[in-house]
Every structure is written in C-alpha cells, then in structure tokens.
Symmetry: C2
Subunit: 424 residues, 2 copies
C-alpha cells in the first residue's frame, strides 16, 4: 500500500508495444492498492535523433534552446503512456517537469534540482489519477525557463519526487534484472544482489557500474528513499538499494564485498620530469581545473634523488583527453616539466564493500588474485570501502573474473565470504 | 519599422535546410530594423507521425493527453529555429504557447483563445531578442493544462499575438505566393491578388480556399490586423488582407469580383418525401445538430401539390456523411420521410466579391458562363457578396475556368471588370 514512484527508461518505452507493456505494469501496481507516480524517459533513440537535428541547424547546440528541444522527447512518451493507461480503463494525467514542480537552477543542459513542489501531482493522485511525469527536466527558479538535468536526469527526477511525496519506494525499471556483483557481460557467473547499501552503491556507481548514477543514489541516501532497481521486461524482484536490508527478506548477514566494477572509459596522462618542489602539482591541477576537466585517480611517484624530478600520473575521461593535453602543453611555460605521455589503453578494476573496513585480509586477497591472473598493476587508489587499480585495457576482463571468483561472488560458489552483524 | 509577427507553416520548416532558410529570412527582417515575433508550426509530417503513434497505443486518442503529445511537434521546430538564428549571430528565445501567454478555454483538441498576455515576449523583445513562439497551442485558463487550437491554429496564434502586441502586420509565410483569384492548379491563368478585403477573404475561406482559414481572418478583422500572405521560398511580396488597400501601393479601384473558389470535400444528402408541414425540417436538422455535424448549404424543393411531400437537400463534409446518414435513419421513426439519398460525387463553385452588391449583372454573367460551359446546376445558395452552386464533381474544373474567364480574372486579360470608388 502507499505511494509508489516508478521510473521507466527509454529502452522500456522504445515503441508502442513497450508503452503498452509498461502501461499494464503500472495498472497492476495501481490495482494492488497503491497510489502511483510514474517518471518516464524519452522513447528509445528520440533524444539522439533530436540532437542530430540540432547539429544540422547549428554548429554547437547548447543552452536554453537545446533544453527546450530535448524536453520534447519526454513530452511524447509521457502523453502516449497516459493514453495507453486510459485505454486500459484507468485515469491518468501527464505532467511536464515544470507542471510537476521540479524547480532547478539555471544551468542549462545539466541543471540541478533545488526544490520539488508537487502540488499538482498530489491533487491528481487524490482525484484517483495515475500521475505520469516527464523525467530529465525542470523549470528554472529565477527565469522560469525549461531546463534539463543532464545524465541520469530521469532517475534523479524519480528519486526527488519520491522524496517530495514521501513515497515508500522509488522503483527504477530498466532493461537488466538489478544490480550485479559484476558486469554480467564480463563475468558470466555474476550474481544479482537482493540488496546493497547506499554507501556501496555509491562506490560502484563512481567506479564504472552503469545501473544507477552516483547523483541519483546520493539523492536517495540524503532523503533515505529506498530504490528498487528491476526489469520492466521480466517483472521479477530486482535489487533494493537502501540504508538497511529489507526486514525479513534476507538473513542478517552481509558479504564483505558487494561487487567488482570496471571502467574502460578513462585515459591516463603522465607528466614526466616535474621539479619536486612545493606548488608544482598544484599548478598542474589548476591548469586542468581551469579547463573544466574532472580527473579521477592521481599518483605521484617518489622523487628520484639524483635529479630532483618526479612524475605525476592521473586518469580522466577519454573524451576530455585532448582538451587536457592542450591545457598542459600551454602550461609548460610556467611548469618546467620534461614531457607529457597520453595513454588510452588502460582500464580500471574496483573492489567495493563496506565489509573491507573490518576485514584486513581483503587487500591481500585482491592483489593475490590479480597476480595469479598475470595482471600487472599500474596505479592504485583506495577509499575506506573501495580498492581500485589501473591495468592494461586487455587485462580488465580476466582481472574482473579473477577477483570476482577470489571473493566467492560466483553464482555457483559456496564460499561467499560473509560475516554476522546487524548493521553497517 | 516597428513590430512584425511572422508565421511559418510546417512545409517551410520541413527539414534542417528549411529551418536555416527561414532563420535567414527572420534575421533579414530583424536587420531591417524591426522587432520580430515568429510563430512556427511543427516540422513537415511531425504531427501526423505523432497521431500515428497515438493510434498505436490507444484506440481513440483525444483530450488532454493528445494535446500534450501534439504540442511536442512545435517544441521541436521552435527550439531548432531559435538555435539556427543564434548560429547566425542574433539573439533568439523560444516560448511555448503557455510561456507566450496564449490563454484558452478548456476544450481540448480545438480550444479557443480567450486572452493573450505576452509579458515574457515583450520582455524578450525589449532585451533585443527575436521571439519564437510555438503555434497551435495554449494553456487553459482554469486548469493550466496544455491545449491545442485545432485546424489553422498556428495562423490564429500569429494573428492573436499580433493583436496583443499591437504589431503593424502579421505575415503568414506559406508554400504559395499569396491569395489567387482561383486555385492555380485548376486555373493556369489565376492571378495573385495584391490585396483583398477581409470580408471577401472570409467568404473565400468558407467556400473552399485553403490559403487562410476563416477563423484566422475573422480574428484579424475583429482586431484590424493586416495580414500579409506570402511565400517563404520566393520572398516576393504576396497578398495583403485588410480593411483598406495599402495606401499608394495600388490604384484606388477594385475588381467587382475577388475570386472563384471551389470545394470538392463535401457530399450531398437528400431526404426524400418529407411531409410539407411546419416542424418537419426542424426535426431533421435537430437530429443532425445533435450528432454534432455542421452542414453547409440547404435547399428545400417546392412541395408537389398532389402529394403534400417535399425533398430537402443539404451539403456537409464527406467525413461526416456516414454519421449523418446514421442519425437520420434513426430519426425516421419520428420524421415520416420516404428515403435518404447520399451523393459524394458533387462539387461546389463560389464566386466572391464585395462589388456584386452594387452590380446587378453579376448573377446573370455567372449563370451564362456555367451554361456556356455545359455545366448543370444542382443547388444554389447566395450571400450578399457570394454566389455558390453545386454541380457534378467532374464539372468543377471547367466551371471554375469558365467563370474565372467570364469575369476577366485571367492573368492575360485586359477585360478585368473594375469600378472606381474609395471604399468598400
């Protein structure tokens, strides 16, 4: 019972058949006695087609008008979905982000939600309607312009509405069955998790897992909204993401390790021969930041005593590699480094699990597994509940498989490493 | 100088090239020193494609959600047009009907404009922007729902904005060069008019001319907004529609006849053997009205004295023929008529011109022309400035050509019938 927010992605509503299937699922939820708010993305490739059109008329589409354009996609899918529900004999009303009260800042193309005032949604629900809301979009607080929320915007819309409406759960429907211990395309024996803690999900999201974006999980954790990630095709229970495991649904024991993620979208830049004195590294990263490039891992080698020079390596999205190399080249006049090396043949493997805080053997097992698989490690970085390494890109697949096995995560394994406990 | 409202139809913005061409035309107007407000329709076939999608998900798409869906089309075209203008180095902002202050009643799919509050448009203009407004759509006054204006909605949006902003002219860009004395596809020698009075344009629009819809002309006449119908392809001056001919642009003389229009979209229903007594006709037309069918011409034959029975014929859109026949069949229990005849092989030819009020020979010339062309007349109806006849559909083309010639309207004719005068 209670209020449920459901979000359906573009692949779930890719065509008329998909829309009708989703409509039946929504009606089933309504029939089970829930009030239902649905957040929907644009159909299949609609957004890409709109971007393509924009590129045909203007060289660098961006800003206010680009947002106006892109939001047409959700307007189409939400209206069709409401019609499909009505044709099943249930009342439904669709709402744009603006109508739903999704208030954002004015940063077009990647706006942030600053408030949600869902008065019209509440009224529609109280009148017995299923409310369909356009994902990915809002209206700016100051200028009342249409904005879009950028990557993962629809998931974030769903979580934000769930928080504002005090929903019991935010269901994210997608084309996979839930969150897995590793990418099932890489690890055949990857296991669907029944539950994962917000904290672990955040680390997985920021280290390559694509099921949920960091931003959406962060929002859900802040407002303590349980997320249920599940398939719109199978209808089976998926993965709960929350602070605590759902009561009575699973034993109160928790694997040390939640999962293994990987990421092959990054490149590595090495600045060779940097004078090892205060301020040099700061100058390098200021040049990068001024170019509005986000970097991930950073490693500085021990200085060679003979020369007083050191090397600094960092990773960043491949897409920003060219811009970063340019920014650093320009900075060579003020930073007296020797040369730059660019390497886009790298991959990152991360092991995530809150249990590693209290289990000192985790790091050793991790490196042993990589070593046994013949994988060479180039960079290492750790957080309290994550270890990440950079390897050659060709080593990523065997590395993920080896680590997944070593921690007993394989679906046919009896060796899952668990510890008793009641909380995080 | 001053404020110009321009409207571009779907064929003018059918693809990226069209959008860029329209953008250049808009920028030229801006460069000439005008403030420019542009109303734009959905690209080419977008609306039809959306309707097709809707029919795939729901049997009878209609109402609130259908409006939400259709308005996505203008959202796409207006955003792209704004981008194209910006890429030419001029500032542009796009506005939905709601943002532009187009306030309507709540009749979805064919809403009527009840107020226009263009505060945001005015601000955008004052800040130096070209304002791009979505045609065909508004927001309902009571429920704040998205509405669409139905057929000819974008033209009406343009005229309504021109009235609210006190524009000097409303330019309607289309794929023809202006308003012609007859359909150029039927009459090769049809002449583009430089000017036509509102009153004549209203009659042409309601008797088959498709360049402007009656509704839009009626709005323009009420607020005295001159319309300039012209081609978005050629850029040549088109046809002015207004109360008075533009001063100094043409001699102060006016053809008796403005033009010849025709319409082959109607059918004729004859109710045979109706008792010739008071109230019978009323019952028939009440049955038609209750089925929400609009009829056009009505003729009642002289009663045959021997039987006391008469026949009643009327014309109506073919699309509503089936519904009308059903409604009448059902009514046969209360109206004791003999039978119904349905005929969709008819056409209507109309002669329009304010000059016919004061020129008694017009009707005679009209019927002589038809007679010389061997055209048989089935129904006749007249207004103060229009004569319409119904003929066989195959006779429409020769009839229009004959009448067009007879009144000296052919482009190579020296015989145009004119009279001197200063007003209407």
């Amino acid at each position: 019972m209670g209020l449920v927010v459901q979000k359906y992605g573009g692949s779930s509503v890719a065509d008329a058949e998909g829309i009708k299937r989703v409509a039946r699922r929504i009606v089933d939820t309504k029939k089970a006695g829930h009030q239902v708010v649905v957040v929907v993305s644009a159909m299949g490739d609609t957004t890409d087609e709109l971007i393509d059109l924009a590129e045909q008329v203007a060289p660098i589409p961006a800003g206010r008008e680009f947002d106006m354009l892109l939001t047409a996609g959700e307007r189409i899918s939400m209206a069709l979905l409401a019609m499909a529900i009505k044709s099943l004999g249930h009342e439904a009303q669709s709402f744009t982000g603006s109508q739903a009260g999704v208030i954002t800042d004015s940063v077009h193309n990647k706006a942030r939600i600053i408030d949600v005032t869902p008065g019209r949604i509440r009224t529609a629900l109280d009148e017995g309607n299923i409310a369909i809301v356009a994902g990915f979009q809002g209206v700016s607080q100051d200028k009342k312009d249409i904005t879009t929320l950028g990557r993962g915007g629809s998931d974030t819309t769903a979580v934000a509405l769930a928080a504002a409406l005090d929903a019991g759960v935010c269901e994210i429907y997608t084309d996979v069955d839930g969150v897995f211990t590793a990418d099932p395309r890489v690890v055949k024996k990857a296991r669907k998790m029944d539950w994962i803690a917000f904290e672990d999900m955040l680390e997985l999201a920021s280290s390559g897992s694509k099921v949920l974006l960091h931003r959406c999980v962060e929002y859900a954790r802040r407002y303590n909204i349980p997320i249920h990630v599940r398939s719109s095709f199978s209808g089976l229970p998926g993965t709960w993401v929350s602070n605590e495991p759902p009561q009575g649904e699973r034993p109160m024991e928790q694997a040390i390790i939640s999962g293994v993620s990987h990421d092959t979208s990054e490149a590595k830049i090495t600045v060779v021969g940097v004078p090892d004195k205060p301020g040099e590294a700061a100058t390098i990263f200021r040049a990068i930041a001024d170019a509005e490039i986000n970097i991930d891992m950073v490693v500085q080698n021990v200085s060679a005593a003979a020369t007083g020079l050191t090397d600094i390596s960092f990773t960043l999205p491949k897409a920003e590699g060219h811009k970063a190399m340019e920014a650093l080249s320009k900075a060579q006049t003020v930073i007296a480094f020797d040369s730059l090396r660019y390497d886009d043949q790298i991959g990152k493997i991360s092991l995530v699990g809150a249990g590693m805080k209290t289990n000192p053997g985790v790091t050793a097992t991790f490196f042993e597994a990589l070593s046994n698989a013949g994988v060479n490690i180039e960079l290492i970085s750790t957080s309290e509940i994550r270890i990440s390494v950079v390897t050659r890109v060709d080593d990523v697949k065997p590395a993920v498989q080896a680590v997944h096995s070593a921690f007993g995560l394989d679906s046919d394994s009896d060796e899952a490493v668990v510890y008793g406990g009641t909380g995080r």
